[in-house]
């Protein structure tokens, strides 16, 4: 992974953008207010039938198997070939996709009944029914290498009432489940293909989608072609979508400008102005649901999942033991300046794990500490810390991540910190920080539609991704309550309380939120992009 901007290897952008018009996009601003469409569907331009759309992806997806898939770039391809029980719309609301309606949840919250659309066929012509949904969910729950087990951890059993109805029996009420079913856990695979391909399903995936898998060459392309079996095939315009893997951001952009590709995922912030200046191209923007921040090692000594302990001498610091020191570090940061200097002002400062666009956001969730180096120094003095306090931070060894690190380094110096940067190759840094061999780590999270996915795994005591050894019973209780409640307003309030506590303890110091930039040639109309930041081509085509 060679991120062009400091980010996790796998990004999940997210946005509140409606159906996007490429006719009007030239006028669209990248400063589109949250929740407002950056553009609308082409007014007087209609897409003609036929043609091959070439889409540049920033990275190589892993195996195209919804059960084992982990890369976010893979989701861009799944959008064309593997529909889900639920999807999201422009307002980040969850809506039925292969399901006929929203699920019915029992009063005790432990039984979730899902009605399915009828007459839907997989790309191989077999019927998509309750048995097929059960086969997929059971595989997600039981396959040794499944990456969906944690998504579906609340599910005890799946039963089929009739061909059009599936019932999920839960161990305990779990509100974020429907959001999980609007992602890879909700993708339904053809049982016939699962039987014939077994673990090689990912090499020839068969699901329900406007397009079906055709071919793949590693490090080059993934081709999908129009699926005549698709339930809405009449409205699919394109014959083919070819996803080309182009890792280098400059090369990607040049290929969009030369016309070799028509859609470009992940435009680098440095190319945004040039793209907007090009009259043949449109820019689509989306706000990420995730965040970038600094994870502080508070008590991870023996690895993720092991009980928190006191850090060994070489890592020991008041940064780990005294929340006031972490607060001082945060007071030293000028998030606006970081955004302007490192990212040309193209991203958004962030102070918490929940996007302001999220229906679960609240005032409490968006509280932000102001830049105040004098207060930082006073706090360090109060904590009895001798300044400058020497501390180290792992950053990715990419130019942008290094610049981000240097900007932070310069800022916290004024607050009384002597920050040493440790540029580390990404895969190595994950290994090192999982093992607890670090003091601070600049890393982010791609984000989930339900904020639970941005919070619980990272800061609850038993969180599968809690690599900082943070443990707080108040936070654990609040997270548990937010998972059991189904009322969005109640959940938003609980999330706000969690964020308030996190601001006191600061196991993660949130820095900024990415924007996802997608470049599209004006010869193409009807590309849709919603809150998950994924490009949808079901109704896209070349201008007629």
């Amino acid at each position: 992974m060679r991120p062009s901007i400091p980010r996790p290897a796998l990004r999940r952008p997210a946005v509140a953008v409606a159906v996007l018009s490429l006719a009007l996009a030239a006028c669209s601003s990248i400063d589109t207010p949250a929740g407002q469409s950056a553009a609308t569907t082409a007014g007087n331009q209609t897409a003609k039938n036929g043609g091959t759309l070439v889409v540049a992806l920033s990275d190589e997806p892993d195996a195209l198997d919804p059960t084992t898939a982990r890369t976010l770039v893979g989701r861009a391809v799944f959008t064309s070939i593997c529909e889900k029980l639920y999807d999201i719309n422009a307002k980040l609301d969850i809506i039925p996709q292969l399901a006929a309606s929203m699920p019915e949840t029992s009063a005790d919250g432990k039984t979730v009944t899902i009605k399915l659309k009828t007459g839907v066929k997989f790309a191989d012509g077999t019927a998509m029914d309750g048995a097929a949904v059960k086969t997929s969910l059971d595989r997600d729950l039981t396959l040794a290498t499944s990456a969906r087990k944690s998504d579906l951890a609340s599910v005890q059993e799946v039963t089929v009432t009739d061909p059009g109805t599936v019932v999920l029996h839960l161990k305990s009420p779990f509100a974020p489940l429907v959001a999980q079913l609007a992602d890879r856990a909700g993708m339904v695979m053809s049982p016939a293909a699962l039987k014939s391909e077994g673990e090689d399903f990912g090499a020839k995936p068969v699901c329900v989608g406007p397009f079906k898998f055709q071919s793949r060459v590693a490090q080059d392309h993934i081709d999908v072609v129009k699926d005549p079996n698709y339930y809405d095939a009449a409205n699919v315009k394109l014959d083919k979508v070819s996803y080309k893997i182009i890792a280098d951001s400059t090369t990607r952009f040049n290929n969009l400008r030369s016309g070799d590709v028509q859609v470009l995922d992940a435009v680098a912030p440095t190319d945004v102005d040039s793209l907007q200046a090009d009259s043949t191209l449109s820019l689509l923007t989306s706000d990420s649901l995730g965040y970038q921040g600094i994870t502080v090692n508070i008590g991870n000594v023996n690895g993720v999942g092991k009980p928190a302990a006191t850090l060994p001498a070489k890592l020991a610091s008041t940064m780990a033991t005294d929340p006031r020191v972490r607060q001082a570090f945060e007071l030293s940061l000028d998030r606006d300046a970081i955004n302007k200097v490192v990212f040309q002002g193209k991203f958004a400062p962030a102070c918490g794990p929940i996007s302001p666009d999220s229906p679960f956001s609240s005032d409490a969730a968006q509280v932000c500490t102001k830049h105040d180096p004098a207060a930082a120094k006073a706090l360090l003095q109060q904590a009895g810390v001798q300044t400058p306090l020497r501390i180290s931070m792992i950053v990715a060894n990419t130019p942008d991540a290094t610049r981000l690190g240097q900007a932070i380094q310069a800022q916290v110096k004024d607050g009384g910190f002597d920050l040493r940067l440790v540029p580390t190759e990404f895969a190595s840094s994950l290994d090192q920080t999982d093992a607890g061999d670090y003091q601070m780590f600049q890393i982010g999270w791609s984000g989930r539609v339900d904020p639970d996915g941005n919070i619980s795994n990272f800061v609850s005591s038993e969180g599968s991704q809690n690599n900082n050894g943070y443990s707080n019973s108040t936070v654990d209780t609040l997270i548990g309550q937010s998972q059991a409640k189904s009322d969005p307003a109640e959940r938003a309030q609980l999330f706000g309380q969690v964020v308030t506590q996190l601001h006191k303890d600061l196991p993660i110091i949130y820095l900024y939120r990415l924007k996802n930039f997608t470049g599209v040639s004006k010869t193409v109309v009807g590309v849709q992009m919603y809150g998950d930041g994924l490009m949808r081509f079901a109704h896209a085509g070349f201008a007629g």
Partner: protein, 318 residues
């Protein structure tokens, strides 16, 4: 000939075995865990253990090696831990791309390098030599990524006469293949052309001063015959060595060129494999590259004996 080649064959086999061991241990010595690289954002220890188990990474390294070699001997190089696709088929797709690019680049480099080298040697201390030296210096000095990006900006964006990226096999459509490979081949071959030019010039200057060239001239042979038939032929042994060594280097050295022009060759394959700790893919690519190096070295040894019969030890006849 046999006495000349058999020891080299044995050396090659031993080298090959050593390479596989070094690579196998080397990739495992890299910091970073392939399972963690594959898991990406997610660090659930149980899932990481399941991934390690599925790729046999929880077995002792010697056992993993034997297992790998056993499978490799049956033509099974395993599956990519990243894409799940068979390594052999990915290499099968990538190898022709890099080979066609390398051959094209070498052809261009040799043509330019030898031509400029001969001109510089024959027309010494004149504008021709100065021009050839300047081109060589530029070829060596300009980084290929800059040259490649400039090429794309000029010939694909400002004046769209060539595609910015992509690959078409020469066997599928020779004209399109030429259009797609021209820029990458010039970029990849520019450094080599400079080296070939310098070497050709030195060798030619030396050859032109020898007794046999003077004798040839005295016998009344024409300038072209002397330069091409006598001096150049004897200079080619140096050029062949350089080109031979460079071909092996090009197969893996095309990394940057392939990234710039989005050519799905070895370079792109190995870059991603290293970043994602895709052990089976790294091993497969290195195995094939090592084979190419060893094979090309053998071929160069063989060509020596064709070009210069004095190389044949013991006077063995071909």
């Amino acid at each position: 000939m046999g006495r000349y080649l058999i020891p080299r064959l044995v050396e090659s086999v031993v080298t090959f075995v050593l390479v596989t061991i070094v690579v196998f241990i080397g990739v495992r010595a890299l910091p970073g865990d392939p399972a963690r690289a594959l898991a990406g954002e997610e660090s659930d220890p149980q899932q990481l253990a399941a991934i390690r188990h599925s790729f046999g990474l929880d077995q002792p390294v010697p056992l993993q090696y034997l297992h790998y070699v056993g499978n490799a001997l049956h033509g099974d190089l395993g599956r990519s831990s990243r894409t799940g696709l068979p390594v052999a088929s990915s290499i099968g797709h990538a190898l022709p791309v890099t080979l066609q690019l390398s051959v094209f680049a070498i052809a261009i480099a040799t043509l330019i390098g030898v031509g400029a080298g001969v001109v510089a040697a024959v027309r010494r201390r004149g504008p021709a030599e100065w021009a050839a030296n300047s081109v060589a210096l530029l070829g060596l000095s300009v980084p290929s990524f800059w040259l490649g990006l400039m090429g794309v900006l000029v010939f694909a964006i400002a004046y769209p006469i060539l595609p910015a990226s992509g690959f078409v096999s020469v066997f599928a459509n020779p004209v399109e293949s030429f259009r797609h490979l021209l820029m990458p081949a010039i970029v990849l071959g520019s450094g080599l052309a400079a080296v070939v030019m310098r070497q050709t010039r030195s060798a030619m200057i030396e050859a032109l001063g020898t007794d046999y060239v003077r004798t040839a001239k005295a016998k009344g042979l024409g300038g072209v015959q002397v330069v091409v038939g006598h001096a150049l032929r004897n200079s080619l042994i140096v050029v062949t060595t350089i080109v031979g060594l460079q071909l092996g280097g090009l197969i893996s050295g095309a990394v940057i060129t392939e990234q710039i022009f989005v050519l799905p060759g070895f370079g792109k394959l190995i870059i991603d494999a290293v970043f994602t700790r895709d052990y089976p893919m790294i091993q497969g690519v290195v195995l094939v590259t090592a084979t190419a190096y060893i094979g090309i070295n053998l071929l160069v040894d063989l060509l020596y004996s064709v070009i210069d019969p004095r190389v044949r030890v013991g006077g063995a006849v071909l």
